[in-house]
């Protein structure tokens, strides 16, 4: 979707708020919110792509105004309700409905180190042939899907060169909508800054964007 989250190249967002000796969390609720989302992910009721899309769907003005972990909480609530893990009334009241059955959490403290050290690879060891090879000239397609995509607007329609074939990965545009993984190659595509931004850009500079096979066409 052409949301405000897709902000590469926008102007007017203000100075960068670098902070000296920044703490990992600025308040204890941030740590709790972060941990709640990571723990709830373990129910595997949604994909990481679906989570990203849920955050993108926060209305634009709110998206820009909200704190980072505030957005996580908003997305977690929507995903939890949609998945049927809790009702909106329960979330609003903070107490389970009378007579609700109690579950067993998929993530216990003992499982945390393994969960973190294993991660959740998005690559797939499948013999999917690549459509492009290193050094080939490509153009990023001009697509404007209303759903989730990881093809940023600033690269659409632009010419680039295949720099690296990273291998086969799940496709976010379908995986975010529970429409299957559609595994395909992801490439690092090299764009010159001038191709993306015109003559104002440095003639030496480049931007590398990781793009799935379906985002690209031969050029």
């Amino acid at each position: 979707m052409n949301g405000v989250h897709d902000m590469g190249g926008m102007h007017g967002m203000g100075p960068i708020g670098w902070e000296k000796n920044e703490p990992v969390f600025h308040a204890s609720w941030e740590g709790r919110a972060c941990a709640l989302l990571l723990a709830m992910n373990c129910w595997e009721k949604w994909t990481l792509d679906a989570l990203r899309h849920q955050i993108e769907r926060i209305p634009a003005a709110d998206y820009l105004r909200m704190l980072y972990y505030e957005k996580w909480v908003a997305a977690l609530v929507e995903l939890t309700v949609t998945a049927g893990l809790a009702s909106r009334q329960e979330i609003e009241s903070g107490v389970p409905t009378l007579g609700a059955t109690k579950s067993n959490p998929p993530l216990t403290a003992e499982k945390v180190p393994g969960m973190i050290s294993n991660g959740a690879p998005a690559s797939r060891n499948l013999p999917v042939p690549p459509r492009f090879h290193r050094g080939e000239h490509v153009r990023a397609r001009n697509i404007n899907p209303i759903g989730h995509t990881r093809l940023p607007r600033y690269a659409r329609g632009k010419h680039g060169t295949i720099h690296i074939d990273h291998g086969v990965f799940v496709f976010p545009d379908t995986n975010a909508h529970f429409l299957g993984e559609q595994p395909q190659h992801v490439y690092s595509v090299r764009f010159t800054a001038r191709e993306l931004w015109g003559d104002q850009a440095s003639p030496r500079d480049t931007v590398y964007v990781d793009l799935w096979d379906e985002y690209l066409e031969a050029a």
Partner: protein
């Protein structure tokens, strides 16, 4: 950078000054519900927070960089198969499953961003700082990387090529900064203390700091 900037969300946070207590209450209520329903385990939440506050952070990445500086064979492995090389030091896993390491040289400067959200190599740098996840950095890093770097106090010569890596997929990028001169006699452990998070994102260089602790 301006050290007086001690708030964490420039520009937009004024209106938030009154909000956090409300947010804190909402999160507390949500946690209590999810625990009560058996959907999350409170001890698991504590363990997750402890992990990212005390165990997984930029010191991991700094050790990788220092090893690459002292061991040319390791550096080569790191640049050609980052996952395996990083795993040699015991790191990897969540948000570091697919790593790419890009090397700064006198003629090439690399900068990492996620314009679409907040993708960041947790396994080697921990959770990202607020500025990395915020609109000013995400919007400008791709269109005006040299301006962004100047804002971080780093002015690059015109003949240096700036390469920006937009983390749009599941690859996670770590910058291998240049080893500063004057460090020839330093041990690997001493070198690791010089390597800042910012240098591994590419918004600063590693300096032999009289300024002291790395960010």
């Amino acid at each position: 950078m301006d050290d007086s900037s001690n708030r964490h969300d420039s520009g937009h946070d004024h209106e938030h000054q009154a909000v956090p207590s409300d947010l804190a209450l909402r999160v507390k209520s949500l946690e209590s519900l999810l625990v009560e329903k058996g959907l999350v385990d409170r001890a698991a939440l504590d363990a997750l927070i402890d992990t990212y506050q005390h165990k997984v952070g930029p010191r991991n990445g700094a050790r990788v960089v220092a090893r690459a500086w002292v061991d040319p064979a390791y550096r080569q492995r790191l640049l050609t198969n980052a996952d395996a090389a990083i795993a040699e030091l015991g790191y990897g896993g969540m948000q570091g499953e697919h790593m790419v390491v890009v090397e700064n040289t006198p003629k090439v400067h690399n900068l990492v961003v996620c314009t679409l959200c907040s993708c960041y190599p947790w396994a080697v740098l921990g959770l990202p700082p607020v500025w990395y996840k915020s609109a000013p950095y995400r919007s400008r890093a791709v269109i005006d990387p040299r301006g962004v770097l100047r804002e971080f106090g780093l002015t690059l010569a015109e003949d240096v090529e700036v390469r920006v890596w937009d983390s749009t997929a599941e690859l996670r990028y770590l910058v291998l900064p240049e080893r500063p001169s004057g460090t020839e006699r330093m041990s690997e452990a001493e070198l690791a203390t010089l390597v800042s998070r910012d240098a591994m994102v590419g918004v600063s260089k590693v300096v032999l700091a009289e300024k002291g602790a790395a960010a």
